[in-house]
Structure formats: C-alpha cells, structure tokens
Symmetry: C2
Subunit: 315 residues, 2 copies
C-alpha cells in the first residue's frame, strides 16, 4: 500500500452497508485522502449525498463528507484506488463479473474486499486472473458502529493481503478477526443463529414470549458477553480449574440442555406466532436510538481497554 | 407479605451465590428490616463476616452490613422471616429435606425461593405439605450485579406467590421473568449453552481460536444484545416487514447455518485443546474487574431505561 497520506478507498454499492462503511471511513482515523463511491442506480450522486448524512448524529456530520467523490463509471471508480470494497447485491454471478472487471482496471497492489454475508471469496474470484488479493471483510451491522470485521480469505488469498487488511482495521480501532476456513455463514452469524434457534423453540413451545426472551438476553448474557465472551466467562466461573472446572461442575447440565435443545426449521410453521409477537411488541424499532445506546456501551468498553492497555504498559 | 417496614429475609447457604444475594439485598432499596443468614459450615459467623465485604467495591460497603444476623439453627433462622431463600448444594435429597423442615418452622405466608440452576421446584417440594409457596428464583451470576432472575414455579405454585415474587424484584429494579414450564436448564442457560455448543464446534474444527471466538462475541452480539435481544435485533434488521422480512431475506442462510451446525457432546474429546487454550489465554480471570466494567454498562442501560420511561410518561 502507498503511504497513508495517499490512501484512496473506493466503495462499490451505496446500499445500507456501503453507506455505513462510508460513514466509518469518514470518522475513523487515519482517514483516506480520497473516498470514492460508485453505484449504478439512477441518480446515484443525489441518492448518496442525501442519504449518507443520515448515518451521523445531528451536528456530528464530518466536513470531509463534501470531499467524497461519486464516480460515474466502474473504471473511473477503481483505477486509482488502494482499497476497493464492494457491498453490492448478494448474487454470485454479479460478484464474479464485478471482480473480473475491477481487476482489469485496478492498480496491481490494490486490496479487494467483499462485504458479503455468505458468498465465499473462492467463488467470487472464479473469473479473476490473480485470486490472491480478494477476501471477504464481513461486518456486523452497522459497521460504522459495531467493531467486528470477519476476515474470510479464500485458499488463494495471500498471507500478505490478509496481514495488510488486519493492519488497516487495527489501526482504526476495529476488531478484525481472521476466520481460517470459508465456513457456511462465517462465525458470528453461526453463533447468533444457534442461539436464535433455541430462542425460536422456547417461544414456539410457550415457555416464554418473544418479549420475555429478549428481556432475558438483555439482562444476562448480553452485557456479560459484551465484557467477556462465552469461553472467558465460563473459564472465570469454573474456579481454579477454569473452563475444565466449569464442565466438571455442570457438564451434566450442559449436556442435558444440548440433548433437550429444539431443532425448529425455517418454514416449519412456528413463524406465524413468532412474527406476530415481534410485530405487536416492537412495531418499528427506533434503530437510531438503539445505535446511540450501543455506541455509549462501546465507548465505555473502549475506554476500559485503553485503561487496561496503559496499566499493562506501566508494568 | 407484611408491610415493607417489617420485611425480614433469611438466606440459607452462604456460598458464592448466597453471599451475592446478601450483597444484593443490602444495596437494593427497599432494604429488608432484618437480613438473616444461616449456613451449617463450622465457624459460619466468622466465615460470613469476613467474606461478605468482598462483594463490595472498596469504600462502598454499606453500614447495614453489621446489622446482619447469623443464625445458629435453621429454626431460629426461618421462624420469623417473610422470605426464605436457599442457595445450598445442588442435591435433590438435601433440598427436599430442607423445605420440609423449613415449612415446619416458618410463618404461614412466608415465600420460599430456591436459587437452584437445575432442580425443579416440583421435585424439591415433594416432602412439603403446602407446595403452593415454593418456586425457583434462579439468578444469572453474580446476582448482586446481573439484573436477570428466572422465576420458575412448579405446577403447584400459586399465582399469588408468583405475583408477590415478581413485585418484590421489580421494586428493586431487577428483571424477574416468569418461565412458564419447568424446562431443563430453564431459559438463559439453554440459550447460552446453544451458542456455546457452536463455539466449541468452531474451535474444535480449527475455524477460530478460543480467544478469537470470544473477541468476536465481545465486539458484536454481546453489546448488541445488551441493548436489544435477538428477536428485537432481527426484527429491526428486517426492514418494514420486521422479523418476517428478516427471514424472507436471509432465511436460507439461517437454515444453512442450522443444517451445518456442530453437535459436539460433553466428553467427546474436544476438551483437551479447548481447556488448554482457555488456560493459556486467560489464566486466572480478574472477576472483580469484569464485574466493575459490567456494572458500568448496566448503569448506562439503567440510565437509558430511566430516560426512556420519562420520555414515555411525558407523552
């Protein structure tokens, strides 16, 4: 990559994810010297200039927002960029064609990132000449708020490309995690959907309501796992033997829960009642309010990590 | 229950959970007029007086801690109490015998609560004459920090007892949730263990390490679910159709993840590597530090809920 003074980022696709990434790049230093967006919808420029400001709290819109360039062709968008990040439709054919064309116009050492939540880089790269520089950089939505980025390389992605991608995000105080295999759904969604499946089962069998289930998670594992993930939490709960002690003490209960877990399927018939409860309880969720509160929690956690770092450094 | 001025709470069992409940009762108003603890370990009084202060941050030990009474017999402990809460060993025979004896000495309208994480009230009550007043009040550890209490009545528990128990905890700004069936592991642990199972699978198959998996949860669903539980989050993510829209958009990916989910069992052989990684990465977890940070997050969430309430009330 060129020196950071000359960092030019191009975003392809100006949907919710693309614009959220734009907001992230504008607010996390070091900022790019040039941020370009390309989207092939009609009136893309107007659409972007009127929708991007919505990603900021009132009065916190960065002045650099006016420096964003909206490209009118893919070639113009990518030919001078160091990083090309696509957040387009979840469609394999579109992505395959896109990367082949991007490769024709892009600089030799530009990084290629896909925001896909499910189409592996190995499939997206099928029409590329050099498959070493494409990887998935999957955010947890919305990326301008949530710190996680799952880096999912294909078997062809070079270690150097993975390393440069990790360095980029770490410098911006994000949490880029290298996923070592192109697993279905990557990692975060697999974990969340495993819990969701049991949640669906418990509501479907009348043990708790949708609202009660959410209240349980919000007042227990949500805040706990924000501070210490599941392994660390159970390691702390197992006494001197740690995680081993935890499984010694209550491994029987864990297995009993696993044996008794529900296995509903999508389309099984539970949907009617569960969707109805969600509609009745939540109506339209105020996402801006949710994001504002989430940001407050993340600020506390960042501050604590900063403090932790300096305590460690003093030793 | 008598008027709150005369609220007398007796805790049976002074292990980690019992003492954490003592700390909760001392710090969440309205406080009991009398808090009594009974434990049949040798030198119980000395043990309790030296260990309970550890549940408070420096300089925040309430002066009422010296008013705690340590009873020397079960009869003395329970005969005058309005609420009797046991946090003893996880052993059905011990609990069955305990409640039968408690019933002999307790006031007719005293509430009986068990902190068990797995032994249903219907089993614990087998030797009781009046089974209407016992229920499980299962905390998410540690209860003096975490707001959730799972109320799990037996089929014999009276609605009035459930209601009085809910009122008690709501008045203390806790989150008591009525679980409608005596499900294995109740609800919170079933949900957490479902995610843990997939976490074990992903580490066992080398997709991520223990530390990386925790970092993923800490930077994504932890803070997200602290603010909005899984149903509310996906309802928000589904556009105008809510949860239904979410499943319309990515139900295929959800089912693909469910189909591909791992099903490790306790004792399957994955333990060696997973326990080793946890030991190497975490050593001994600083639980006081974890609790201090968790409390900061919960304070933010409480403040936001307070603000939300007053905004709603103004309408």
């Amino acid at each position: 990559m060129s020196s950071e003074k000359e960092l030019r980022i191009t975003l392809i696709g100006a949907g919710t994810i693309g614009l959220s990434f734009a907001a992230l790049h504008l607010t996390h230093l070091p900022a790019p010297s040039q941020l370009t967006i390309f989207d092939n919808r009609p009136n893309a420029e107007e659409y972007i200039r009127s929708n991007l400001p919505k990603f900021f709290q009132n009065s916190s819109i960065p002045s650099s927002i006016s420096d964003i360039k909206v490209a009118t062709s893919l070639q113009e968008a990518v030919s001078n960029a160091n990083i090309i990040q696509e957040s387009g439709p979840e469609n394999l054919d579109i992505k395959k064609e896109l990367w082949a064309e991007v490769e024709n116009h892009a600089k030799k050492d530009a990084l290629f990132w896909s925001s896909t939540s499910g189409i592996p880089a190995s499939q997206q790269a099928q029409n590329m000449q050099d498959r070493t520089r494409l990887l998935v950089v999957h955010p947890y939505n919305p990326p301008h708020i949530m710190p996680l980025l799952e880096l999912v390389p294909s078997p062809d992605t070079s270690l150097e490309v993975i390393q440069r991608t990790q360095d980029f995000w770490r410098a911006r105080n994000r949490v880029p995690i290298h996923i070592r295999r192109e697993t279905t759904g990557f990692v975060a969604n697999r974990l969340a959907f495993a819990l969701l499946r049991e949640a669906v089962h418990l509501v479907d069998t009348g043990v708790v309501s949708v609202e009660e289930l959410d209240a349980i998670v919000e007042s227990s594992m949500g805040p706990r796992w924000a501070v210490a993930g599941p392994f660390k939490s159970y390691h702390a709960g197992g006494g001197p033997l740690g995680l081993e002690g935890f499984f010694k003490n209550i491994g029987g209960t864990v297995q009993a829960c696993w044996d008794d877990a529900g296995t509903p399927k999508v389309g099984d018939g539970w949907e009617g009642e569960v969707f109805k409860q969600a509609r009745e309880v939540y109506g339209t969720v105020d996402v801006a309010e949710r994001d504002r509160i989430t940001r407050r929690l993340l600020d506390v956690l960042d501050e604590e990590k900063g403090r932790k770092r300096s305590v460690d450094e003093e030793k």
